[in-house]
Subunit: 333 residues, 2 copies
């Protein structure tokens, strides 16, 4: 039995502040046909990332999202039919298919994936999340054994892996997350040395208690108040890996930035450095090999949060921005 | 004729906002005697730096200044009498003598200086200012020929040298300074490609016009609004050398930081890095040799602003913070 309809989720209006279900609409269209050099793919798992929300705000490392078009997003997809050399039916690929059942894309926009069990790991630990954690922590953060590493959004897809890699490297690891349950999970299940609940108030003091020797590496997924609380606690020549600013996405552009910049950067001789994982794609294979080694040996636990059904993708993103996920959130189509 | 009195300028109260003459007092004390391992030095030229003001705010890379004690500050001084091996009367040294006629210091706190003509160059181009410009621009900014370098406080001791070194390295150089006279001087006398008067309003637009290809390196002496105006104009993988935050010194601690952090750092993959020149002292000799080569060949012009008389030191610092100097300000004692 072959499906004949392609369900699509369109962004119908860009949110000015909080993203809500009213910004999306479900549509249907015929399943497209591939032309020469293209392939038709069936979407299997859609990756949900805070960056999806940032794309709506304006040009980031990609063009701003257009309204009344399919919401973009990366996914693991399976080739259904191909008019491109090197791609055959059944191949697994990573591609920006957008939020829909099917997509036709030129072969150059389809990255072939190995078969991995479970397939979902291709979006979590071996996907953007795992690679972002790996390169951001090791190349920008440069943690040394015995140093203190703090990571925000620590129960998220990237943060949960950052903390575990830092443990593997012999660091003291402090996670910042929202809620006692997540904090307990970080310490009891993932082996973090301490976790700070930012919803509990008194973030600065709690961080001081959790990182009594100061912070050498801060892996920042959120920006805003949490970055501001970390800055004065950074040690001399500390490194701040700027990975995202999720606290800033679901609102109008902030009129101010964190206090202490650039004063504390000068006095403490800090490095703040932004990065995106695409810059490291030439080193992807060695990173995946290392991550696989850690996963296989049990040193790195993979947490996934799989939501069922394309129609639930908007709510899945809205919930992710509210911090309801633990580990890598994705939608099974 | 030997002097018998040591005039000293004491900081009697820490300024909460603007520094004024009321925060200082002139005192007199006997000229101290050196003990074993110490030398008595006569202060010749006192260096004035925006950092002097930062020291009053609290602990920076040095302890906070204490009230009712001699205002600290670096100077070129001459050994008068010595009970330390390796130091004889007539030797020139650099030391934190503070603002006074004479000081007794242990030999390990006296750095011997070569004889240079004019002696004032030991505090400007071959001193902290020149070395700060040299290492901050080349090691942190890493400018490449053809790139655009922007420097703030461009008519100051550090900025005027930063811009000229960037020109030597083949960059397009834009200086930000206060007032048309300084801006004209940067372009006409020092060879900057353009200068922007931040007092003229419309800083963002003026900067856009002066740096139409965006900013690759921003050498930040000031922080605040000027840093905020530069951030969105940084090119991908741009570098911000954080040298100082003079806009923040003469006021209560700012409640906010520059907008766009960390969002723009992530999206543009910027590096912001703080540094202090003391970290580079093992490379001092090669830097001075290079600076001397440029000065001798006429590629690097040295601008000094010498104020006469110890009693005028407070006003000289107050004026420096108001931006009235051009090039390296110092006091001849």
């Amino acid at each position: 039995m072959t499906a004949t309809v392609n369900r699509q989720i369109l962004l119908i209006e860009k949110p000015k502040e909080k993203l809500g279900p009213e910004h999306f609409r479900l549509a249907e269209s015929p399943i497209p046909e591939p032309k020469d050099g293209e392939a038709l793919v069936k979407v299997r798992y859609i990756s949900l990332d805070a960056a999806n929300r940032a794309w709506m705000q304006g040009a980031t490392y990609r063009a701003a999202v257009e309204t009344d078009s399919v919401m973009p997003g990366g996914s693991v997809a399976e080739v259904v039919s191909s008019k491109a050399p090197g791609l055959v039916s059944g191949d697994l690929v990573f591609a920006d298919t957008g939020w829909q059942d099917y997509a036709v894309l030129p072969a150059k926009h389809l990255a072939k994936l190995p078969k991995v069990e479970p397939m979902t790991h291709l979006l979590s630990v071996y996907g953007i999340a795992g690679l972002t954690a790996y390169f951001g922590l090791l190349d920008i953060g440069k943690p040394r054994a015995g140093e203190t590493v703090v990571v925000s959004a620590a129960a998220g897809s990237v943060g949960s892996i950052v903390g575990q890699i830092a443990k593997i490297k012999g660091c003291r690891v402090v996670g910042i997350a929202g809620g006692k349950q997540k904090c307990d999970w970080l310490v009891n299940e993932l082996g973090f040395d301490a976790a700070v609940d930012y919803k509990d108030g008194a973030l600065f003091k709690a961080l001081r208690a959790a990182a009594p020797n100061g912070i050498d590496v801060y892996f920042d997924n959120v920006g805003g108040d949490i970055l501001e609380a970390c800055l004065p606690q950074m040690n001399l020549k500390g490194r701040i890996a700027c990975c995202g600013a999720v606290s800033q996405y679901d609102r109008t552009p902030s009129a101010t930035g964190p206090r202490g910049i650039p004063g504390l950067i000068v006095v403490k001789r800090l490095i703040m450095q932004g990065f995106i994982v695409m810059d490291y794609m030439d080193q992807r294979d060695e990173a995946v090999a290392k991550l696989q080694e850690w996963v296989t040996s049990g040193k790195l636990k993979v947490q996934e949060d799989v939501i069922d059904g394309l129609e639930n993708t908007p709510q899945a993103l809205i919930g992710l921005l509210a911090g309801e996920n633990r580990g890598k959130r994705m939608v099974k189509v």
